[in-house]
Symmetry: C2
Subunit: 202 residues, 2 copies
């Protein structure tokens, strides 16, 4: 089976998918564009809605990182079979995406003259969401929904992205999130991938 | 089984779920708050991330409209069993949500002094997305993924919402989308629900 993942040379919305593909030992072509080269017209025009990541499998393509992550997660046993448990994880993933979206909005709306206010908005978003994620993970023995799932990969991939972007460890006051990041980072396949991947910069 | 759906007296992010519950003949308590009363502190404080809709089933609650819609859709046979087909629909739903988000951003960013430019932004968003949805639906015999699914309910619910909000029929130049709206609106259970529901206003 041929697989291709197309994204930037960045973690962002693709890293959770890369982690799962490596963890599941699924070979794939990890296509990465430099952000400074973007948009590359020929590539952008080929994307269904102009955006990456896209995932191709045996000539069929889907877009939307969340759809791709759920699909790959399902392939490697990271989506439970019970529909309610699936829905709980879907909601967790969507909440994490809301957190990411809110942070991106905070960064976009920055007024260069109001440094304190900008930082306050970011801090409030981080506290609002991470407090809730910490509580939910703690209630699930360190996982969304009680055991390792695709939702865990999503929060790890996105918290790590903002850590790179903001130059800090957002998870430092959230021990259960920190433990989950460490756990995912040291899973077989992922540990070796992290050791070999090119470094990410803001 | 007891079911509760909590949202505003508006279509918005809940109507696709209401449609599916009625179509599937699943009894539920359809709790609706007036938007002018919002936020109601006691309700808002009870929501996991301060937002509606929420869906409760036998005392268990989830948030996130997309997670709820997929769960209810699955219950009534509107989610296919094949994982790739599921992913194609997940991506379609996420693309429709992106369209809604983009339109909300267009409406939020309006400059009252630039009426023409505001309208142009809305028109461009509508054209960009609806052209692509029209094409995808046409290729699927009028449905995302080839047969009636939860993704069809999502596009109908959200296009109808912006029709109310913008006071126009966004789908008027898109015959396949128009046909899908008509089809969903006249399904058994939904037809009767629409005839009896309170009218929606901007």
């Amino acid at each position: 089976m041929s697989r291709k993942l197309q994204y930037f040379q960045f973690n962002g919305y693709a890293e959770a998918i890369r982690y799962m593909l490596h963890y599941g030992k699924l070979d794939f072509e990890d296509i990465r564009y430099k952000r400074e080269d973007w948009p590359i017209k020929s590539v952008k025009d080929s994307l269904p809605f102009g955006q990456m990541p896209t995932y191709e499998e045996d000539g069929r393509t889907i877009n939307q990182s969340m759809a791709i992550a759920r699909y790959v997660g399902n392939k490697i046993g990271l989506v439970p079979s019970d529909p309610w448990e699936q829905a709980v994880l879907d909601a967790a993933v969507l909440n994490v995406y809301d957190f990411a979206k809110k942070l991106v909005d905070n960064l976009k709306d920055q007024d260069p003259e109001k440094k304190e206010e900008n930082q306050k908005n970011i801090d409030e978003t981080v506290e609002y969401y991470l407090t809730r994620f910490e509580r939910e993970l703690k209630a699930g023995n360190g996982h969304f929904g009680g055991k390792l799932s695709w939702a865990d990969f999503i929060i790890v991939g996105l918290v790590e992205t903002f850590n790179v972007y903001l130059g800090t460890d957002l998870h430092k006051n959230y021990p259960t999130i920190a433990a989950l990041i460490l756990k995912v980072n040291t899973l077989p396949g992922i540990k070796e991938y992290i050791a070999s991947r090119p470094p990410y910069t803001k």
